[in-house]
Symmetry: C2
């Protein structure tokens, strides 16, 4: 297919690579005719996994990568030294426009560093944030930034808010998404130095629907669509989401197994409970894009299985079709003008 | 009783005051002969509530307070102007040693400010942190700091770690409590500037059992007993705990009500589930002390009911009996010596 979206996939990254990643890739091309997947990694290992499935052969190619970047390797060094690794080769494909997107469950650090130094930032973007979707009572919210830039500055957070708005509006399909900044109280005078400085800048933005502060308590209720914070806070929120959900469900399960009566009840409630808990399962929402790069880089969880890989690959289509990067560029150009104006107003 | 612990209680603070607070106070003195409660607030309102119960009259006194500090009032101004408010009067009782402790469900800001300016810090303590116990799979952990000091410095965090250790060891009864710093990865080189500066200082501390970084994911598993962070992060953790627990349980309940079959199951599992979820209910652990003050100030949640008030009042006994403040003083003296040593070593 001439106009297929070309997605390079790191076949070697993550706890369940290459098996689950390859499985997800073949599942994705079965669903979408308009995707071509390049599986980047050890040729033999990938071929062995692919041989287990029947799938449209013309939609998957293998790009051999001799090396693999391990989880524990120092990211900057790994990206510099391992030129033949699946991450470096996959990122280079995006840089050279041989691929529209790169999806990896590998080392977060290496993906963040590679995204910046190989794929490169869109001109005007100060820092590319990692922006996962998190489940809420109402649907999903975009948490931006979530691991790429600790100790960010107010101007970074303003860009995060704008890029996040574009993403939620055009990829997730929420019109006029509500943007809020993570804070420790609802009042404008609350917060740490970063939040206090950023708040008035967000208020001035004409091109986003800024609704003020959001307390962490309100995040799971879905009070905002785009949740802005610096990466340390974002990482704490994302990880606590994971840890607390699994702990609480563990506590519930333990309760269900504690007596004969409750065991009988558990059998009755199982199908209904499974269905509703699915809505709170982060894996169905695909991966987290690194926003603001000259190409799409999507990070999926290290523990990702075939479903996550498949969803992340399919998500790349919307990103490309909706021309998100073009929209971010437009947005940044208008933002710079606005900031000049703000400068004149003494803000 | 001559040696009773004297606890001043803010009868006017919180969403359910004075009714639930008074109910909690009379419940506390029924359980413990060695507590005397001073209910601070509007005399008429308190008397009316007290008249509903039969309790040992000699264990409760009323201290009339003409004013009340509202939740939305700017804290510094409120503490300065409302000299006849329940918070200011209660704190003054602690300062004047007329009470050993003050418990309030009122404005967090006013309690934090009042604690510092009225009760005052122990000499050598730079900032008094708010330290709630949070439920985990294994029991409870102390989250310190959780709302008192945003933009803290490394030396503050070191003191938080030490005071938290004393509290967990002597009030909660965990010997040699594990101390960890909230971080975005397990490796020592990870983190924001604050964490990177604080990490080596904690490693140098001889008097605590520092175990390194803790990712937010691991907090609900109970990986550490004392969880150290600055207040912005702590507030995010505490509030997300609240929000996510209630959202997830809401999702589970909704699932249970979705079909006739699951409704029948729900009836069977209810008692067992209720019992296990109790272990994850923060209200049973009493309030959050402001550590490092010249007296005990305990903040309980604004939505606290009688159980929380009762538990927080009873918790004051252990604090006093274990001479926590004396132990913090000892700890700080040895800490200062150690820091001098660290200075010499160029750390």
């Amino acid at each position: 297919m001439q106009n297929a979206i070309k997605v390079a996939v790191d076949a070697m990254g993550g706890d369940h690579a290459p098996g689950e990643i390859v499985k997800g890739a073949q599942a994705a091309v079965k669903i979408r005719k308009d995707i071509h997947v390049f599986l980047v990694g050890k040729k033999d290992a990938i071929e062995k996994e692919l041989s287990k499935y029947s799938y449209p052969k013309d939609q998957i190619s293998i790009v051999h990568a001799e090396e693999t970047i391990e989880m524990a390797e120092p990211p900057v060094l790994a990206i510099r030294k391992k030129k033949q690794s699946s991450i470096v080769l996959g990122m280079n494909m995006v840089k050279q426009k041989e691929a529209d997107a790169f999806v990896s469950a590998g080392s977060s650090g290496a993906i963040l560093v590679g995204g910046q130094v190989i794929v490169g930032r869109i001109k005007g973007i100060e820092r590319p944030p990692l922006a996962p979707l998190i489940p809420t009572k109402k649907g999903v919210s975009l948490l931006v930034d979530c691991g790429a830039n600790v100790d960010a500055r107010p101007s970074h957070l303003v860009q995060f808010a704008k890029m996040g708005s574009v993403y939620m509006e055009h990829v997730v399909g929420i019109s006029n998404p509500k943007v809020a900044i993570v804070n420790i109280g609802a009042e404008e005078e609350k917060g740490n130095a970063l939040v206090k400085e950023t708040f008035p800048l967000l208020k001035e933005c004409q091109d986003i629907n800024f609704t003020g502060s959001i307390e962490a308590r309100e995040i799971p209720y879905g009070k905002a669509d785009v949740i802005v914070c610096e990466a340390f806070t974002g990482n704490v929120i994302l990880k606590l989401y994971e840890g607390l959900s699994s702990t609480l469900l563990g506590v519930v399960k333990k309760g269900l197994m504690s007596s004969l009566r409750s065991k009988m009840g558990a059998v009755l409630i199982k199908p209904a409970l499974k269905e509703t808990l699915k809505s709170f399962d982060a894996s169905v929402y695909g991966g987290a894009p690194l926003l603001g790069l000259n190409g799409l880089v999507v990070k999926i969880h290290g523990s990702s299985k075939a479903t996550e890989a498949k969803n992340a690959i399919i998500q790349c289509v919307t990103f490309k079709e909706q021309k998100i990067n073009e929209k971010i560029k437009e947005n940044i150009i208008s933002a710079s003008k606005e900031e000049e104006q703000e400068g004149k107003n003494g803000v």
